[in-house]
């Protein structure tokens, strides 16, 4: 029988669009890739907000409701804190605290993840609901995929849902 060398692999389903949870996603992703893991990030639903090309609120998407939802959700510059958001002030305060304590900010963690070769994927189904296409995302999105492809990518590795 063919012996296969075990690849160290971490796959994360980025479901949440919350600032704090996204910090967790990109911390794990960049850290794991930096220590030699193959890392796959699969963004779905609220998680898609962080990979939008436009970082702020904008009417992207096709169809009135989709455009309205996308405007309300916004991009990575206005992802809310999962608790104590206070109308969007807290993520900015938190970013300030991270900077003053010399801890990487969400933006820096995203850039770090790209630099160490983390693979970014987007969920076809949730993009369809929100009327957005691959062109609405940052160019780092490798592919738009579904469940079957995600399972194939994550096989024999660790998988997290955040």
């Amino acid at each position: 029988m063919e012996t296969r060398e075990k690849i160290k692999k971490l796959s994360i389903i980025g479901f949440s669009g919350d600032f704090d949870k996204l910090v967790a996603v990109f911390t794990l992703a960049s850290g794991a890739a930096a220590v030699g893991y193959e890392v796959n990030l699969f963004f779905t639903f609220w998680g898609l907000n962080v990979i939008k090309k436009k970082g702020g609120r904008s009417f992207v998407g096709k169809g009135f409701l989709a455009r309205f939802f996308n405007f309300l959700m916004g991009g990575k510059n206005n992802v809310p804190l999962s608790r104590l958001n206070f109308g969007g002030i807290s993520p900015k305060l938190m970013t300030g605290m991270m900077k003053s304590k010399n801890v990487a900010t969400l933006e820096e963690l995203i850039e770090a993840s790209k630099a160490v070769g983390v693979n970014f994927y987007a969920c076809e189904m949730s993009m369809h609901i929100l009327g957005i296409t691959k062109n609405d995302f940052i160019p780092d999105i490798k592919e738009v995929i579904g469940v079957a492809k995600f399972l194939e990518l994550s096989e024999d590795g660790e998988t997290l849902f955040i």
Binding site: G31, G36, N102, V103, A104, A112, A115, V116
Partner: protein, 74 residues
């Protein structure tokens, strides 16, 4: 052997690993990377993680106080 330097004493996880990885990926065969890092998590895990990725840890010496100097080559 040319020596490149990287100071990660002011960095925290995961940037300690990320910065080391990025510098190592730019390292050529005739270069050595000298990493300054703190005791604790970085000192325990950085040498281990670079070795597991096939790099050679040439030496680990105390630099000053809780700062250590790790020499790495390809």
């Amino acid at each position: 052997m040319k020596t490149k330097q990287l100071d990660i004493t002011h960095e925290h996880c995961p940037m300690t690993f990320v910065k080391t990885k990025i510098e190592l990926s730019k390292l050529s065969e005739d270069e050595v990377l000298e990493v300054l890092l703190l005791e604790g998590e970085p000192l325990t895990n950085i040498p281990k993680s670079v070795e597991s990725q096939g790099y050679k840890v040439l030496s680990i010496n105390q630099h000053q106080g809780n700062i250590h100097k790790v020499l790495i080559s390809k």
